[in-house]
């Protein structure tokens, strides 16, 4: 099953001008546990998906929010020449197709 079909909301956003943050949120405990316990979402899998060094990926499991979270440095600082997403809001899409076993 695709992550997009299990999550209530997958989103990305700037966390300040130098960081991108990704939130994967779930409507219920079972969906959250299913994805969390699948072991599919890790620093390593995120690094591979976004082509960035694993040591730069921060991964958080937020049990009381039923949410998983990643943060990475922005490839370009917000507003730097070449930056095409000023708010970082459209960077989450590759997460949608992640297969959850």
């Amino acid at each position: 099953m695709k992550l997009a079909d299990i999550a209530a909301l997958i989103r990305s956003k700037n966390a300040g001008p130098f960081t991108l943050t990704f939130d994967i949120m779930f409507a219920d405990q079972a969906s959250y546990d299913r994805v969390k316990n699948s072991g599919v979402l890790t620093q390593a899998s995120f690094a591979k998906l976004y082509g960035c060094p694993e040591e730069k990926v921060r991964f958080f499991q937020c049990d009381n929010a039923l949410a998983l979270k990643f943060s990475i440095p922005r490839p370009l600082t917000q507003g730097e020449a070449g930056d095409g997403d000023m708010h970082g809001g459209q960077q989450f899409v590759p997460l949608m197709n992640v297969d959850i076993r």
């Binding site: 943050t21 998906l49 960035c52 929010a65 039923l66 917000q78 730097e80 960077q91």
Partner: protein
Amino acid sequence: MSHNGQIRFIAPVGSVGGGINAAALDEALAQPTDFIACDAGTTDAGPFSLGMGIPAFPREAVKRDLSLMLRAGRKANIPVIVGSAGTAGGDVHVDSVLEIVREIVAEHKLKLRTAVIYAEQDKAYLKRLLHQNRILPLDPALPISNSIIDSSSRIVGMMGVEPLQQAIGDGADFVLAGRCSDSALFAAIPVMRGFPPGLAWHAGKVSECGTLVCDTLGRGVISTTVSYQQVTIRPYGDGLRCTPQSVAAHGLYENADPFLHRECSGILDLTNATFEAIDDVTVRIRGTEFFSEPVYTVKLEGAELAGYQSIIVGGIRDPYVIRQLDSWLASVRNYIDDMVARVLGDKADRSSYNLVFHTYGINAVMGKLEPEARNLPHEVGIVLEATAPTQDMAHKLAELSRQPLLHYPIKEWAGSITAFACLHNPAVIDRGPVYRFSLNHVAVPSTPLEMFRTHFEDLDGSTQS
């Protein structure tokens, strides 16, 4: 002012100018309230507001919300606190909002003891701190030097609770602050009154974006109550509710770390926070901690002029061009560079300008992060962005780029082609000055107050005709 060992505040909207729901504000203020607070700024829009010195919200929208807040504050005889005035919170931004406040005071015949707190930083002062190793890098570390301080068009410090507390202590009805921590606007009075700092700061954190803390979107206001044991938060507004999940999830929003939040005086730690439903719309928070740091730090934000920009918007439909787009654009760029050197000569050294092709349909939105850039579409949108030290040069660069974009040949077609569909005539759009963020640092002042300048104005609209 505090009632039964608790303190209650209203967050009327996520940002001044966002559009306060006046009916919900009235309903919320029917209960005893200690203060109203709201932020009016962000860096989320980008560096332009800070660099250029102009707000990002329409003046009319700011005036409407400020007017509702100030009249509500005077009616209930409670303080109103607004921070990060005018989007970026520089002196010019604060003054532009102060001018709106004067109009409101006159129009509604209000009496308003106003504390104005400026957050823009003196460059000589910052250079002294730098010399004393009291400007420290954050991650990612950007270079810092006297010349970077000088070349920044404006630098602000993000204040904590202390300047706000001083203003309230000195009897302000209204605090108009420059760049300020959003949470500090709400934490200042509860911390000053001795409520636990973990709860006070967390109350600010969950309230500062208004109804974004709710589980659905809608227009309303947030009511938050801090006691010695807990925080309770609820919205007023049709169909709005806070749930344990929605309040917990708000800790994630626009934060790199969902648990640890750095403020000037320490770290707000949500690791042990619990969230429980009290009723259908109200959530109780307990267990949040705040750890004071031995070194008081003030985050710096700076913007510097990156140049002037001109753009051309258009598209490509020819599949022969699309299938070799990268190499074709590289050739177009070389052709443009050669022509610029020929035509503009010494006036446009190659290192002094920057040409970017944003290729919509391929990777314009995600850039290097795009995993599907190899899936070619039937049509590609292109924005050519020329950045140069003057608007005149940026304009000429874009003009010189048009012909190569239109006609640069490909081997699949014999003879002259027109590969690029221009959207406009004239094709070139001048965008004016563009800015970049120049700092990612904190300053270490001697005291929490020394970087901020407060002055009082007793505004009195009742004496004017």
